[in-house]
Symmetry: C2
Subunit: 220 residues, 2 copies
């Protein structure tokens, strides 16, 4: 690891520590620089803004979650069970950062921000997560409309974003409410996915898939 890399990661690590200790807003660039033993200008040499420091945090949490989730659902074939494992695993992984994590995800809500989960910059992280969801579906015993099956990983990623949004607003102890949300919506989703082939629901399923397809088009 060159000097450059070293300074960079020193700054990130210091920032993460101060963020967890004092919160995002109350942690100043000055204090990060001072604590890391570098100048403010140097910190800005590596990170073009305070927000940019957050990307490092995202990548790490995503990485930890994916490894833990794969381990946790290994051997399990029930779709609902796999779904629940992955989501609860995320809640567990993110738990220590909940206090200041909210600040982070607020910044991520800005569509212009490279930190947005929908942004081009987030594409690698997003794709990696969707790949995880594809594994959830493919190695499960789920019986579902083949076309829906194809779209399911992306839809589950979207649902995960919804869970994150709920989690951000969750003020209960140990984010119990988010856990409840997960535990009780997961069976509903699994049930609905299974029912999607039913005669009465078939047209709704098709129209939903067609809509998603049309919305995904880059033009229009």
């Amino acid at each position: 690891m060159g000097k450059s890399e070293e300074t960079r990661s020193l700054i990130v690590a210091t920032a993460m520590r101060l963020f967890t200790e004092n919160g995002y807003d109350r942690t100043t660039m000055r204090s990060i620089a001072a604590e890391a033993g570098v100048s403010v200008g140097n910190a800005y040499y590596y990170f073009s803004s305070k927000e940019q420091l957050i990307q490092g945090f995202y990548d790490e949490i995503a990485w930890v979650h994916q490894t833990a989730a794969r381990e946790r659902m290994a051997g399990e074939t029930g779709f609902a069970e796999r779904l629940e494992h992955v989501l609860l695993c995320w809640v567990d992984t993110a738990e220590p950062y909940h206090r200041f994590g909210t600040q982070f995800f607020v910044n991520a809500a800005d569509p212009e921000s490279p930190l947005s989960p929908f942004s081009a910059d987030s594409a690698p992280a997003r794709d990696a997560t969707i790949a995880l969801w594809r594994e959830v579906v493919e190695n499960s015993d789920l019986k579902v409309d083949p076309e829906l099956r194809e779209e399911l990983p992306e839809l589950l990623w979207l649902f995960q974003m919804g869970v994150v949004l709920f989690w951000v607003h969750d003020r209960s102890q140990q984010t119990k409410r988010t856990r409840m949300l997960v535990r009780r919506t997961v069976p509903l989703i699994a049930r609905l996915a299974g029912l999607s082939r039913l005669r009465v629901l078939r047209p709704i399923t098709r129209e939903l898939l067609s809509l998603i397809h049309d919305l995904a088009k880059k033009d229009s």
Copy 2:
């Protein structure tokens, strides 16, 4: 209108203009004050922060939307039609502010912020909007499980928040994509609501209602 009211609305109007022209971030309190011909101190006398200026914007847009929406769905009894009217009416009302509106809704995403649609400060505006949704349901010909009917206004408000979230990220011309989303999800929602009494879906409906009920509890 007294002098106080006049100054207040002058400041809001100026701020709105500058926000639309230059964006939220690039508009400084100094420039707002200068352009409105008041001192910075005076601006802060009326609005405790730059964010606070946004609340005025919210209130105005909500007011305009509600009046226009009531007019637009008057006489219409079809549930899906009424739903579509109200949502498309919102998209129309918000259209001129889309460019900088995103900046606003980002601030609103902060759960700690009084600007959050879930905050206590937003309760009056939220209740007014939910009341509008209650009218949508009640004066329609919708046949639906009575318990679901009771919760429907709040659920529709939540759906509206989802539409807003989509709208914020919508970069298409005249927010065509959001309009498409509305036009095509509305029939699905109406259909699903109607089907909620079906034997296969009944348990799902009940469980969903029970979950919402439990999540709404303040404790836990």
